[in-house]
């Protein structure tokens, strides 16, 4: 392949769970140039929040991203409650923390499976997703839905944790912890896993800070920064947990950071279950939020999630801005892609655990310079398009028999 080959990965590609288009310029098997094309998921969430009151906007904010819906709703609500000057009851704060950590559990297990799938290790994919089912059962038991659990509401939590729920959660935590130890020594001992992951997607400490990486990607480059410690919220100031860092600066480090964070989350859940106070779970919230601006930060499974809310005294928010964690990692990922092999591209893209629906952004791939499409589709599409704007769908037309082919 003397000339540089331009490979479009996406918008539909088996390794991507969501639409994004990466134009990778190759020299042989080495990647020399990577251009990110994301934002196919831009649905105009911020505009629709401005035509909904605070309760209705909560439903949109929860569906920014399917995997970290609790992070977005908690971040949004802590902002609105701060504006309204309402202090949510302690029991509600405990329940929110437990749900945040349950979400981190199933998100990290999900990512471990996807990473395994990217490098062709489907057995790891199947095992981790089987264990993830345990966490989803608990979530379904607690709040009725496996994904987009609507436990949060303005001023606190919708449902309480009954005693028999609590020992189900403890049993699940024990089972997940035992499975997770298996994954910890699998990650550290398996030869092919190490062969495929170490030395791939290097992001040095300075680059991580320069490009503003967040979450496990930052912590895997040796930077000790976690929003639960930097800007504590809910119950985190009291909880004794430590921030996991690993200084191998590559995809292998991100696997280790995420796997060890699962253990931390289990420790946090156990602490919350042990000393959860009684009391009511929701506080009275005024319908009209007084005018003001607030910035709320939350540690989502993929990194730091920042919400900006501006209220103008009515019951409709004037401006809601969501900065999802994946959006901060795009630049560091484009930097990581250069210099590695094509075979590593999917795992590097997956390594920052991108959540395109979170990033809510749209960039298109300029086909002129880009991919080399087989001529057949071009002709076939041309034919269908040519006839579509004439109002007749050619694929439905029964071509007269006399055309012999």
């Amino acid at each position: 392949m003397s000339k540089n080959l331009v490979i479009p990965i996406g918008p539909q590609h088996p390794s991507l769970k969501e639409p994004a288009c990466f134009t990778i310029t190759l020299e042989g098997e080495k990647v020399i140039e990577a251009d990110i094309g994301i934002g196919y998921n831009h649905r105009g969430i911020e505009k629709s929040c401005e035509s909904r009151n605070y309760y209705q906007a909560l439903y949109i904010i929860e569906r920014v991203c399917g995997i970290c819906s609790h992070s977005h709703s908690t971040c949004y609500l802590s902002g609105v409650e701060k504006l309204a000057g309402v202090e949510i009851p302690r029991r509600a704060a405990f329940i929110r923390t437990i749900f945040g950590e349950l979400e981190r559990l199933h998100s990290h297990l999900l990512w471990l499976g996807v990473a395994g799938h990217e490098i062709g290790f489907d057995t790891l994919f199947m095992y981790t997703w089987r264990d993830r089912e345990l966490v989803l059962d608990i979530l379904a038991m607690l709040c009725g839905n496996r994904v987009n659990y609507g436990i949060n509401t303005l001023g606190g939590v919708r449902r309480d944790l009954e005693p028999q729920h609590i020992d189900d959660i403890r049993r699940m935590c024990a089972k997940i912890e035992e499975r997770n130890n298996y994954y910890v020594n699998l990650a550290l001992s398996d030869a092919t896993l190490a062969a495929r992951l170490s030395g791939v997607g290097m992001l040095s400490k300075e680059d991580a800070l320069k490009y503003g990486a967040v979450g496990p990607v930052l912590r895997a480059s040796g930077v000790k920064s976690d929003t639960r410690r930097n800007d504590p919220y809910l119950i985190y100031p009291e909880i004794p947990f430590d921030v996991i860092t690993y200084d191998s600066c590559d995809v292998f480090g991100r696997v280790v950071v995420r796997v060890l964070e699962i253990n931390e989350s289990i420790k946090i859940i156990r602490y919350c279950l042990d000393n959860m106070p009684d009391g009511d779970i929701i506080a009275k919230m005024p319908r009209k939020i007084p005018a003001g601006e607030v910035v709320s930060r939350y540690e989502a499974p993929r990194g730091e999630d920042v919400h900006f809310i501006k209220a103008n005294g009515t019951d409709i928010p004037e401006r809601v801005k969501v900065r999802a964690p994946s959006e901060a990692n795009w630049h560091s990922m484009a930097h990581m892609l250069k210099g590695d092999y094509l075979a590593d591209t999917p795992i590097i893209i997956a390594a920052i655990d991108p959540c395109y629906s979170c990033t809510d952004r749209a960039i298109t791939l300029n086909n002129a310079a880009g991919s080399k499409r087989t001529d057949w589709e071009a002709i076939r599409k041309h034919g269908i398009e040519f006839y579509r704007n004439k109002g007749v769908d050619v694929s439905r037309i029964l071509l007269p028999e006399k055309i012999n082919y």
Binding site: K17, N41, I45, S69, F125, C355, S357, A362, G391
Partner: protein, 191 residues
């Protein structure tokens, strides 16, 4: 040869290969679609395999409200798939645009762009619902008269152009029927 046709129809019911495309979803449904392939809900029991290339797949599983950006890519993938092909819309957003229906950048459900064979509602449609939808789609294959079209092989731009001109000529004399058909299509689109 009737037995061969019957065998092929049986085979189509028994081994639907799916290809998954997210047309702007919150990826809650995508995770549930992929979840249906994992040990607890194993879709391989029904012979379902996830395939990478549109050429290999029969069932296009779409999730998410179609944003304007993904609309023509979704159309492109649908065109690339080999007949007989089906489309399954998973999740409320795919069926009708869902909670993002009124956003400025969203075209609505999957049927705004391509014909859909099966709708599976649910905000994050559960894997059980997805499996039920796929199995129901398979069982409808029997009664629908499904003859695989003989392949139209087009070799060059010129040949395609002539074929389309003939089709255009054929279209002239069927102008009147098409007029009603188009009007009917207009009505149910803005209904």
């Amino acid at each position: 040869m009737n037995p061969l046709k019957k065998l092929i129809k049986w085979a189509q019911r028994k081994s639907p290969w799916i290809i998954h495309f997210n047309a702007g979803a919150c990826n809650g449904c995508d995770i549930e679609v992929v979840d249906a392939l994992t040990p607890r809900f194993d879709l391989e029991r029904f012979g379902v395999l996830q395939k990478g290339s549109p050429r290999h797949a029969d069932v296009l599983v779409c999730t998410g409200a179609v944003t304007m950006q993904t609309a023509d890519r979704l159309k492109n993938i649908y065109d690339q798939m080999a007949e007989p092909k089906f489309v399954v819309a998973v999740g409320t957003c795919a069926c009708s645009g869902g909670v993002f229906g009124d956003c400025y950048c969203v075209k609505g459900g999957i049927d705004a762009v391509i014909p859909v064979s099966a709708y599976i509602p649910g905000c994050a449609a559960r894997p059980e619902a997805i499996i039920d939808g796929v199995v129901k789609l398979l069982s409808t294959l029997e009664d629908k008269k499904l003859q695989p079209k003989n392949p139209i092989v087009i070799n060059s731009e010129k040949e395609l152009a002539d074929m389309l001109d003939e089709a255009e000529a054929a279209e002239e004399n069927t102008e009147t029927e098409n007029f009603e058909e188009n009007k009917a299509k207009e009505d149910n689109e803005n209904a």
